[in-house]
Assembly symmetry: D2
């Protein structure tokens, strides 16, 4: 806490002279609502008590596949692996502002180059992508490497682990807000820690990313599902939990 | 009103008509500079390769005590303990925008109530305090409990561990900017994860906190030291590392 | 990474794939509420139909003096003149966000130098001052000359007329917002045209100005009166009107 | 100006106690550069001494027509009239942040309805349109009436004068900024007074307006010409001046 100066009647002098009010308030009063108690996980990577555990290594019951049916990726040994060709998987629940923890590993046996190597993606609100890629000794356009906000922001640094090793993203996401006309009045923002290293620092997302024209916002609901991308590579995910903010 | 182009070649029509350019650009080109390669720590709590390790459990060589002399807190068993009465300790290095990891524990034997129990503080730029307190089953004003931006923002939730247990703060701090007159033109902001749980979400700091009057900004250098507070309790710290952003 | 659609039906492909919506919306739909009809004044300096005329050259019925009694400045020939020593005058009505038009003239016979020559002030919300001063061939500190946000922002240019000539301020003011704790969450901003020339361009006000310490915000009501300052000089005002925004 | 309180040594006490620095600064020091002296126009509608007069009622020498040739609208009696079918006219000079004064009149003889009646437009930076329309007793979509930021923002109020009468726009425009990749990092903003009445209050422009898809930003130069639209109606303009900010 801060030191306790004397000379408290100061403001009184000033403002009384100004004829404005008889007393200057002190510092901000305490908020009235107590912060909710949350039991943290055993480590910072483990889900705290208020998290929704989206995948605990056992089943995909909280996920849907193409056309809304069952999610058909492969679950084994505490992780889920992309089943190439079976399409993206999407949460049944919908989310707005969130804290997300997710772990992933690219194939230990390296195949392909650039965007063809260990590619997937974490799509917040079904749209805003934090890129997943094997970026260990693998060059691609910088705003397309692991940890980029795809085609918008390169990561601040490349904190990738080797192929086959488990990596983490800790993401804080601020959902965009739209007015009644569909105009964005508060843009999405995202902060990402990759393996504990800050790689996106509250960047303002430009909207949906396209490959052939500028990014734009198109209005959507305040809550949308999370989805993980099938980009044709047998990527693995585990320990996925999310907190509504 | 705007011209009414037909469907697809729209931009071409509009902009050619405006004599500006013949073609609408596609998405953002890639940035030219490659993100630096950083080797992450073994876990997200361990220092990555570009971090400055401020305390590794062995000595306080990077810290100074009162009057700039040696830092006289007690180092033992991989941690440093506040030596009550010996004053705050301050880094020799100075920092602006940073990512900071710091671990702390309050005394296992509980003594005192409210602000008198397990109190210390992490002062970014020597001024902007993230409160350290034993807030496990210990009530105080909410913007003074563990993880508060002291007297400004209560934490979003109380993610405290029990007395004596090691806890972590992962902090992303944006330093304020001042113009030549000393006016703040970009305020400090801070994001804090407490034991892996988001408790401060990019809040805008109001300036220096006082006990008897409103917070204000007073211009300072772009880099200032970090300091840890001696508030009279034998608090412990360990595994302190920082990255310049 | 993102899917690679071909040219025109792009959005359809992308978003259908995402299962979100079948079609990209066009431009923003029109808002549903018709803008209110306002009859402008005969010239841009005359009050439009929705303005509150605070002084029309005849009486001070909408103003109060010290202690809330009658405003005792001198009304003659369509203007009101500061009666030095009788104190500031304050509107009975209170205002938040406003557009304000006000005309003023400094004494034709020049007396004094710097801040002693033709000094007064327009205090928005009783606190935030746009300086009134004879700044024609009269040097003072630049953030204290005519059109400054007093002691905070110098005017962009000095668009002063000669002593004795009528001058205008057209002001757009955005009131600050405070949260329940009294913290400012949206700072005041002001735009000023002086004799038709832009001199303050949506600058963010730092709070109350003091002479011996930094500016600060102290929470107040969403609406506060306007006041004009008696700084000891026989300044004149006329044609004062205000619109709530 | 503000009152002068005593108790000046306060800060010294506070901060010395905090061990931070020996003295708290007072209020902001004055900026070092004197604001340039600008002679205002005879009235607020007349050009001040630092304005570029784009049209003074006599000739179109500062304007270009289609293909960069001479501007072929009709000049007579101190105004210029759109020559329907001859296309938009564009300034030879280019501008970024500006204050713009422009006067216009719709045909005294009313013809057509909605967007077909007295339609033209002021395009800042060749792209960002403040709509010109006969909106006196003429209904259209609200973000397409006089004073709208076309298809983005309806005016706050409808301050239109009758057909054939001269009307004014006083515009403060903040140009967008782009980064090296072409990403907008600071969006365009505009404030508009229509006949002296505030109708756009520092709104943030969403980019280029299209009729069939959302607005987007496409990077352009920091300075671009101003253009006036030929929308097929014999609209009149006069007294056009602009100031670089």
């Amino acid at each position: 806490m801060v030191v306790r100066p004397a000379v408290a009647a100061l403001a009184l002098v000033v403002l009384a002279a100004a004829g404005v009010r008889a007393q200057e308030p002190g510092p901000f009063p305490a908020p009235k609502a107590a912060p909710a108690i949350v039991t943290p996980g055993r480590t910072s990577a483990d889900p705290p008590s208020d998290a929704i555990v989206l995948f605990d290594g056992k089943d995909l019951s909280r996920w849907r596949g193409k056309d809304g049916g069952a999610a058909k990726w492969t679950v084994r040994d505490g992780y889920v692996e992309v089943a190439p060709g079976r399409g993206d998987i999407t949460t049944a629940d919908k989310f707005g502002d969130v804290q997300l923890h997710i772990e992933w590993a690219t194939p230990a046996v390296v195949k392909g180059e650039g965007q063809e190597r260990g590619n997937s993606g974490v799509f917040l609100m079904d749209r805003y992508e934090v890129q997943v890629l094997d970026s260990y000794d693998n060059t691609t356009y910088f705003h397309g490497q692991a940890g980029s906000v795809y085609k918008q922001y390169a990561p601040l640094v490349n904190a990738s682990r080797k192929p086959g090793e488990w990596q983490t993203y800790d993401i804080v996401f601020h959902a965009p807000r739209f007015d009644e006309q569909g105009k964005v009045i508060d843009r999405a923002r995202v902060t990402v820690l990759h393996n504990g290293v800050l790689i996106q620092n509250n960047v303002e997302i430009y909207g949906l990313t396209y490959n052939d024209r500028p990014a734009i916002y198109i209005a959507h609901s305040p809550a949308e599902p999370l989805h993980l991308q099938d980009h044709g590579n047998p990527m693995r995910y585990r320990n996925i939990w999310i907190r509504r903010l």
